[in-house]
């Protein structure tokens, strides 16, 4: 007798998050640095991406892949300022 399946694999949050990360890597972003974690009641998507365009692509992919889920996003654009000091290494 096979085990019961309370929800289809396609609706399982963990697998949806895994597929979301697969898409980020496979599509135009080639993005491996964005983390997506399942927390109680929400998915947290966080990381730093190279440009504002990349951030928009991540957020669009969130909307498409994780539709219907509560998602907290904390996706930053990499900073490009000149350093204001050096580290001394004696």
């Amino acid at each position: 007798m096979s085990g019961s399946a309370p929800e289809g694999a396609g609706e399982n949050v963990e697998y949806r998050v895994a597929h979301f990360r697969d898409r980020l890597a496979a599509e135009e972003l080639g993005e491996l640095g964005v983390r997506a974690e399942v927390r109680p009641g929400a998915v947290v998507v966080s990381g730093t991406v190279p440009s504002a365009e990349c951030r928009e692509t991540v957020l669009r992919t969130v909307r498409e892949e994780l539709a219907g889920l509560a998602v907290h996003t904390d996706v930053l654009v990499a900073e490009t300022a000149t350093p204001d000091h050096a580290e001394e290494l004696p």
Binding site: G33, A81, A86, L89
Partner: protein, 241 residues
């Protein structure tokens, strides 16, 4: 004193042109050379490599780079390296180069490196051919780094820097999930650095890691992934003994 600027994981794409150049143009004020610690592109395509090449062409300081895993994704790393070399970048893989900095010779040895993990939690050269090749490839990268550092040791350098993309230590991975450490670096790189000797080890790859670490042999390690340092580059002042 030698002023080493470094950044990795800049992941440039078509819309990136000019983003880092204003900061890079200030390098002559604060650095003697610029190290690029891999993942300079997103997919390793020639188009992306041309963006990087244009960004660093004719900079006021010498530029030395290694490639990262992203720069291999399109499976033409030689083309990526050639485009960067055409722009004046010295791209290292299992080799070293000597940079003259105001009369001081600085040796840089580089390899992309690879994963496998850290002592007590590392992959072994055992079992399926793919698994054995995984570890052997990591070992070849580390061997190339060691021999390059040893060669630089015979070239009257005031300082030697090990430049990698993957991390030689777990210290600078702090912040990353423990489960993925074996994909972020290998102790074989640290063993190579400690065996041959170096004054500084610079790497990228671990976006959620931390900047500071040290090998078991006492060589300082810095993770310069752009998301970690949160700047266009960091500068390290190496003081000669």
């Amino acid at each position: 004193m030698i002023r080493v600027a470094a950044v990795g994981d800049i992941h440039m794409g078509p819309e990136s042109q000019g983003v880092l150049r204003p900061a890079f143009d200030t390098l002559s004020d604060c650095a003697d050379l610029l190290l690029l610690a891999g993942d300079l592109t997103r997919h390793g395509t020639p188009e992306e490599a041309r963006v990087v090449a244009q960004e660093v062409r004719d900079l006021p300081v010498p530029v030395v780079a290694v490639l990262g895993n992203h720069d291999h994704h399109d499976e033409q790393p030689e083309k990526v390296a050639a485009l960067l070399e055409d722009a004046g970048v010295r791209v290292l893989e299992g080799e070293g180069t000597v940079v003259e900095c105001g009369g001081t010779r600085v040796g840089v040895a580089g390899t992309k490196g690879f994963g496998g993990g850290f002592v007590g939690r590392s992959a072994g050269e055992f079992g399926e051919p793919l698994m054995k090749e995984f570890v052997r490839y990591s070992r070849r990268c580390a061997d190339g780094l060691r021999s390059a550092l040893e060669e630089l040791g015979r070239q009257d350098c005031a300082a030697r820097v090990a430049l990698t993309h993957f991390s030689p230590v777990a210290d600078t991975l702090a912040g990353e999930p423990l489960e993925i450490y074996p994909f972020l670096g290998s102790y074989l790189l640290a063993e190579a650095i400690d065996t041959a000797g170096a004054d500084l080890s610079v790497h990228g790859h671990a976006h959620a890691g931390s900047e500071h670490g040290m090998t078991a042999g006492g060589v300082r390690v810095r993770n310069v992934a752009q998301p970690v340092i949160r700047r266009a580059f960091n500068v390290y002042h190496l003081h000669e003994n």
